[in-house]
């Protein structure tokens, strides 16, 4: 099964990741190259040139506070300057709360006698890491089928054979990404500013139907072969709880565009993974000796329960 657009997909993803990495590489001040969290209680600052020992050794030249608490300055325990004087490490008395962006102010940076001005910078965790963690979170740690138990009707209906499972999974991923992006757009620019939050449900389900229609029409015209393979699953997508759960979650957590994209991708891929795993087992169950009352759905539920137990092992995991 070849996807013709696949040739452009991979380079596109690489390009997007490259942009993110680049954005995280530079800072707002011309003399400061990079700021980042280091271990549990330190911040590391890299300068473009060597800084004066006298200036760097004086902890009162540095001010750090958590972004939502500008009036509480964190206590710096010690300042370490590297041998080439281009790197400074600030160690704090208490562990840092890395989930909050920290604002770092450096007064009159002095390098080789010249003043480089005052720098006010934001130190936070790598954004790409955060996005990636949302993706992995939605896909494995909080797998929508096994951990959040959504989308079960369709799940049990299409997981009998590997081919149907994969087909359903891919169709679903496409529809959910499209509808999630549209939902985010409408939520951020129409529903929230006008305090029409209570119209969430109606609007989201409307968008889902619209996306299904859109994907249906586009697929029919663009790639009839693909349509023949996947078209029949499109109708089932609407009856899927996950498709409306994703917009509701992104509205609740107020994600921005990239985070919504990651959530939708994670949900879709997680669903695909779950379907694939389940269908592999069910194909073998067909050949097994199942008691008559358990044949069909009951044994499928028991298997799903075992998978859910296995996925429980991922709970609490956090990367980045």
């Amino acid at each position: 099964m070849k996807i013709s657009g696949g040739n452009y997909l991979f380079p596109a993803i690489l390009a997007i990741m490259g942009i993110f990495l680049l954005a995280g590489c530079t800072t707002d001040h011309r003399f400061v190259k990079k700021t980042a969290f280091k271990e549990a209680d330190a911040i590391i600052i890299e300068f473009a040139g060597p800084v004066d020992e006298a200036w760097a050794g004086n902890a009162s030249n540095f001010e750090v506070y958590e972004k939502p608490d500008p009036d509480i300055k964190l206590k710096i325990q010690k300042v370490t300057v590297s041998a080439d004087r281009k790197t400074v490490i600030l160690t704090f008395a208490d562990a840092l709360n890395k989930n909050q962006p920290h604002i770092l102010t450096m007064h009159s940076i002095s390098s080789e006698g010249k003043s480089m001005g005052t720098a006010i910078l934001s130190v936070k965790k790598v954004y790409l890491g955060y996005l990636f963690s949302i993706l992995i979170g939605a896909m494995i740690i909080n797998n929508f089928v096994f951990t959040k138990y959504l989308g079960l009707c369709v799940f049990f209906g299409t997981s009998q054979k590997k081919s149907t499972a994969v087909g359903m999974g891919i169709t679903f991923t496409i529809v959910i990404v499209v509808s999630a992006m549209m939902s985010w757009f409408l939520y951020d620019f129409v529903l929230q500013p006008f305090r029409l939050n209570f119209l969430q449900i109606v609007v989201f389900i409307g968008l889902v139907s619209l996306s299904v229609q859109a994907v249906d029409t586009i697929l029919r015209k663009v790639n009839p072969l693909l349509f023949k393979a996947f078209g029949v699953y499109l109708v089932l997508v609407i009856a899927n709880c996950i498709i409306i759960a994703v917009p509701l979650i992104l509205a609740d957590n107020q994600y921005n565009a990239f985070e919504s994209l990651m959530l939708a991708l994670g949900a879709g891929l997680g669903f695909l993974t779950a379907l694939f795993l389940m269908s592999s087992v069910r194909e073998r169950l067909e050949l097994a000796n199942v008691p008559p009352t358990y044949r069909g759905l009951p044994i499928a539920f028991v298997v799903a329960g075992l998978f859910a137990l296995a996925f429980l092992g991922f709970s609490g995991m956090s990367i980045f």
Binding site: P68, D69, P70, D71, I72, N97, N99, I120, F198, L199, V202, G316
Partner: protein, 304 residues
């Protein structure tokens, strides 16, 4: 063509009717929701202070709420406190703008009553009248001060911090020396049977009586909860207390300065609550001390 027009008209009409139904239900339920929330907060506060139906609050108990905002003007930030002040016989609100070093910068009279001030939209409107653009303000948190007669009885802090699953909302009660009087978990979405046990007495009552000094160094120990401590924590649930009166004091002083015993199978939730409470109290203590010094220096006629 006629078909399409009929379809479109039919859809539009149905959409409008649906919107009408939902809109009216929303308006009706919104008021009920706000009222219920308010009642809930009142009950939690009274419960934390030790007042129940059988022991109602004395008539001279007053609750005053301070709202804290962060005001930004370009690159500089200042703190704005909405303070309840005495205006003759009634209580009004005043905005005190304090810079990051604890010095009073400005004072404004606000045209909002305490009842209306519990609504975020009313507060924003009142603040917009005195804080003109380019200054912007963002709501930070609020503090309820309970006053009995002339003295401050307790500080009540509603707060939110990340838990294991999503957020945990709590209401913390401190006495004037920042010792914890009580902790109530108002909202959580932790795992039932595991993390959700933080709302059980045998966890949250462990925080009761911890002094400010102990709190600053509070940790979570991964040991099972001793039986006698558990019985001590759960007493007063309507059941016969299995511990005789004399022993209560012994148990209390024995475990007074111990760290928090984690919940079985929910170490992360326990740690989240401990760290969250620690942060809340330390930050609050720092801020209220500065606010109090500004109030005394500037002779602001606050109601608390």
């Amino acid at each position: 063509m006629k078909e399409i027009i009929r379809i479109t008209v039919g859809l539009t009409v149905s959409c409008l009717i649906a919107a009408l139904v939902m809109g009216s239900v929303f308006v009706i339920t919104d008021n009920a929701k706000k009222h219920n929330e308010h009642v809930n907060v009142q009950q939690t506060v009274l419960g934390l202070l030790g007042y129940t139906k059988s022991r109602p609050a004395p008539s001279d108990l007053r609750l005053y709420t301070i709202y804290r905002y962060i005001i930004s003007d370009g690159d500089t930030s200042t703190l704005g406190y909405m303070l309840p002040v005495l205006k003759g016989d009634s209580v009004g609100y005043q905005l005190a703008v304090i810079d990051l070093d604890g010095q009073l910068v400005n004072q404004f009279k606000l045209g909002v009553t305490p009842e209306k001030a519990s609504e975020p939209t009313e507060r924003s409107a009142a603040l917009k009248e005195v804080l003109k653009p380019p200054r912007t303000f963002v709501y930070a948190d609020s503090t309820i001060i309970a006053k009995l007669g002339q003295r401050r009885l307790a500080y009540l802090l509603p707060g939110e911090f990340p838990g294991f699953k999503t957020f945990i909302d709590v209401m913390l009660a401190l006495d004037p020396s920042f010792k914890i009087i009580g902790l109530e978990i108002t909202e959580q979405e932790e795992d039932p049977g595991l993390g959700a046990e933080i709302k059980q007495d045998y966890f949250k009552n462990q925080f009761r009586g911890k002094s400010f000094e102990k709190l600053k160094a509070l940790h979570v120990i991964k040991e099972p909860l001793p039986e006698e401590y558990k019985e001590y924590l759960e007493r007063g649930k309507g059941r016969e207390s299995p511990i005789p009166e004399g022993e209560l004091e012994i148990i209390r002083s024995k475990y007074q300065d111990k760290d928090i015993y984690a919940l079985t199978g929910a170490t992360i939730s326990s740690k989240a609550v401990t760290d969250g409470v620690k942060n809340m109290v330390t930050k609050f203590a720092y801020r209220i001390t500065r606010l109090d010094s500004v109030i005394t220096r500037q002779h602001i006629p606050v109601a608390f």
